[in-house]
Symmetry: D4
Subunit: 162 residues, 8 copies
Amino acid sequence: MNKVAVIMGSISDLPVLQDAVDVLKGFNIEVEVDIVSAHRTPEKMFDFGKNAHTRGFSVIIAGAGGAAHLPGMIAALSPLPVIGVPVKSSNSIDGWDSILSILQMPGGVPVATVALNGAKNAGILAAQIIGTSDKAVSDKIIAYKESLKSKVIEGAKQLKKE
Amino acid sequence: MNKVAVIMGSISDLPVLQDAVDVLKGFNIEVEVDIVSAHRTPEKMFDFGKNAHTRGFSVIIAGAGGAAHLPGMIAALSPLPVIGVPVKSSNSIDGWDSILSILQMPGGVPVATVALNGAKNAGILAAQIIGTSDKAVSDKIIAYKESLKSKVIEGAKQLKKE
Amino acid sequence: MNKVAVIMGSISDLPVLQDAVDVLKGFNIEVEVDIVSAHRTPEKMFDFGKNAHTRGFSVIIAGAGGAAHLPGMIAALSPLPVIGVPVKSSNSIDGWDSILSILQMPGGVPVATVALNGAKNAGILAAQIIGTSDKAVSDKIIAYKESLKSKVIEGAKQLKKE
Amino acid sequence: MNKVAVIMGSISDLPVLQDAVDVLKGFNIEVEVDIVSAHRTPEKMFDFGKNAHTRGFSVIIAGAGGAAHLPGMIAALSPLPVIGVPVKSSNSIDGWDSILSILQMPGGVPVATVALNGAKNAGILAAQIIGTSDKAVSDKIIAYKESLKSKVIEGAKQLKKE
Amino acid sequence: MNKVAVIMGSISDLPVLQDAVDVLKGFNIEVEVDIVSAHRTPEKMFDFGKNAHTRGFSVIIAGAGGAAHLPGMIAALSPLPVIGVPVKSSNSIDGWDSILSILQMPGGVPVATVALNGAKNAGILAAQIIGTSDKAVSDKIIAYKESLKSKVIEGAKQLKKE
Amino acid sequence: MNKVAVIMGSISDLPVLQDAVDVLKGFNIEVEVDIVSAHRTPEKMFDFGKNAHTRGFSVIIAGAGGAAHLPGMIAALSPLPVIGVPVKSSNSIDGWDSILSILQMPGGVPVATVALNGAKNAGILAAQIIGTSDKAVSDKIIAYKESLKSKVIEGAKQLKKE
Amino acid sequence: MNKVAVIMGSISDLPVLQDAVDVLKGFNIEVEVDIVSAHRTPEKMFDFGKNAHTRGFSVIIAGAGGAAHLPGMIAALSPLPVIGVPVKSSNSIDGWDSILSILQMPGGVPVATVALNGAKNAGILAAQIIGTSDKAVSDKIIAYKESLKSKVIEGAKQLKKE
Amino acid sequence: MNKVAVIMGSISDLPVLQDAVDVLKGFNIEVEVDIVSAHRTPEKMFDFGKNAHTRGFSVIIAGAGGAAHLPGMIAALSPLPVIGVPVKSSNSIDGWDSILSILQMPGGVPVATVALNGAKNAGILAAQIIGTSDKAVSDKIIAYKESLKSKVIEGAKQLKKE
């Protein structure tokens, strides 16, 4: 069975990354959450990155702020698809630092970057990746997209009434 | 078998997107290339987006420049994972417009964004996604990462000699 | 008679877009408001864009935040003039993402972009467009410009007294 | 009959603005071109702005670079819809200065801003505005949009062959 | 005797511009304050700009926010030195719009730009300009600079004690 | 008689600063040019800044690129009005570094900043400052502004003919 | 014995710079704190910069905001390594001004720049520099890095329990 | 004896980093150059970072472009002072990506960042660090600063003659 890892550089990133966890649980996908700091626990990061694909993970979601090196380093260490979530941390320069540190990876080592604080989309993207080989999940994604639609249509109706 | 679509807004984006095609062919993954313009052929884009998952594609790579709407619109229309490649086109403002138009998608509709002109990484990422359920491909990715390493080690040796 | 559509990607954009509605009503121009999300209701957007010019609309005002694709996609689908309002939404990067996603349209498909959160100006611009063939409206615009002047002159007088 | 004014701050902006003239002529719309500098000929600008609507113009296209004040000042002086074209001039800071000087107009005085160097789109937008009351022009716009489509479809076919 | 005009586009800019007025009064320089909006009262701006040098003014301080055209247009109309104060207004994009609209003037028409919200420095600069021909004022500037020094030295002493 | 100093951090800035010298000579204003580097000749900079007002200078024009400290340090040392010219040097980040290093001076120590590479405007501004007390110079400025106008009018006529 | 100077342009920068002081005291390194303003006390800055290396200092930490000239000027005056701390002051443009004013020094005069408001890292960097010749300090740095690790590991354990 | 390591992510960065090597050799400081890629040779990077301080190095200079993780990861792994050189590589976004990826390190793990492409200053800074405990080197730095001065003075004299 497919499993997703959600890791982050600091416990202070959890409120942002929790969105990814919630989305994945909503899709009935197994999730493991861990704190893995590129700068403070480089050895743990190395172990995690080197072994994730042998521990049953299919996708890794990594979130970090500022000079955000965790997603790119995990992508360097693991053959799995890595989704990077730029986090707008307290001393960030409007989020530009984390976006560019995650997005602008050199040729050979991709990170699938989502929007600033876009952990919800990281969760959906991980589900879509699993859905490429798991019909139950891809059906749920199709249903999820329909539910997005319904909410807008409902809102539009409400607006018309008022 | 898994197939990847590589689409772009304009034939002028082909020199950038070709890198994705080459990488995927190097991994023995079937690729289809097409021109699909969000702004000039919206109906074709709709058809493409709505039907890609029933036509045997597992992943869609979409590249566009300026106010780049193709990746996000395909992500709106398809349940498949969509990889967006920001292209630095001629009248782009240093690439910021295409990056932000692709990256900053709203919650619910992710685009896996890679670096500016990073089509090579889009190809590798697509292979990694396919590799989550295809051991032959994931083995090739592990081998590819080893080859990246060897080239650097070789270069370093050469440098030491000089 | 001329009619203006004011559409937006999410009900949360209404507080910004309401300014356009109010201005147009002040000019006695008929307005229809709707929620049309490029990313969550692409089919509704398609219908809206393809048919707006046959439903009596002369101008479309479209507001959206983040990777704002609604104005550009409506411009792709409709022959009408489309006015885009960049909205500074909660996870926006200071508004740069919505500005560039709306402004930097490729050759062939213009969006008349106004300032960040500039829905009031979108309403005035729509009135000016209608005023090109409706003398009653163009007279109101001339009067409106005079009223802007009067308020400043009045304020300056007040300042002199103090 | 409707007429469009295409004005610019300096003769050096003509290569950019010529695109607007060409588009408008292609739509059989009468165009007048003039050099009107906000900073070097403020009196001429005043005369032009105050009288354009009595001289048979329906729309004004104004292009300028750097601290680009011409579009906004014309919008202050004229009740007509004003389309602003940010020009990337030689000492511009990547075009940001002209974009922001034209786009960020205060409430009450809109400028319909198009992309950096987007004079072609300025011409199309002017035609769309005229098309709101001139069926011949709006038919041509519909035809123009079809021609955009055909070219992409043709290009895509060519690509498939190779 | 030398006189300084302090003008601004809107009464809402007064809290920022007041710093210039206070500094000038502290130097015993006569000041006149007025509201002159480039976009809402262009005729008043024209009159002001054309006649300021015949009304006894030596220097004009002009503050404005967003697409800030007042300082540059006054510089176009008047032979006097014009000091521009970029104001960070509510819908400004972090102040970049007002800074670039004021700073990036074309060759031939300078605006002496000070820091964002830097009205205090505009006042001092106006005094320095008057000081080039008025020894009483230039003596006060020298004294003012000494007082800046004393405050820092005093603060440093206080810090040492603690 | 009034004299203007034109100083720059490096001889490589001379091609930019020469515009200021030429303008001033055109106004018959005495100019002295010198190389004064804040970072490489801080003692010379100190001497220059402390003594400029006793050596017959009325205005100082200082140009520098990158982390441009010369204009601000001269403004700290001298009671004279200081005009800063941001120079876009080779390793500059599009000129943003020199602009912000010169413009964003703290309260108490103004630098009259002109556009990126805007040395011509620095020269005109210096002449305008001198013109506040020298009628011959202020007459020349009025004439100069007329000549700007004539050239545009001439160009516009030429355009009409073609 | 090695001593570190922590200087800043204004007492209002102390809350930021205090982090450097605390870190250094934690490493048992002697610190001296002073207010030295490049723009308001240039003479004091000159004395400080010229003599710091003869007064027993090994490293200088200098913090400043806006057009931050203190770190670069101290680097011009002193042969010691200078660490610059960009401070996000009240009228700063999101900190870009202080970052670029400190970072973009010309060839020949380096400033070791740390993150925006990164005074803590400035303190650690100063300790690392001293640690290059003082084994007691370098041992403390190794221990400090271990303590960073432990805190993350502890936090990760806590997270697992919940 | 003190030794400096100069490492870079790719051989293509050598033309930039060579400046650091040349400066250090000019100061008679031993240098070792190596290619160490964070993303392609993470194991080599780990070994290098963990052992540099036991191999006789005092300072590490690390240069990288784009999402530049090498300097920060080395700083995470080594107790030595690490100097980061942002390199403006071919697909970089004007260098912003490498600057922010290197500069904005989290609290606890400093990187001493120099200007974009500022390898020369990295070399000087490394020498200054060594100079804190090696009088021969610190004397050379004092002499070097004098030589900078002489060149400017000489240039200024030349200018005066012409």
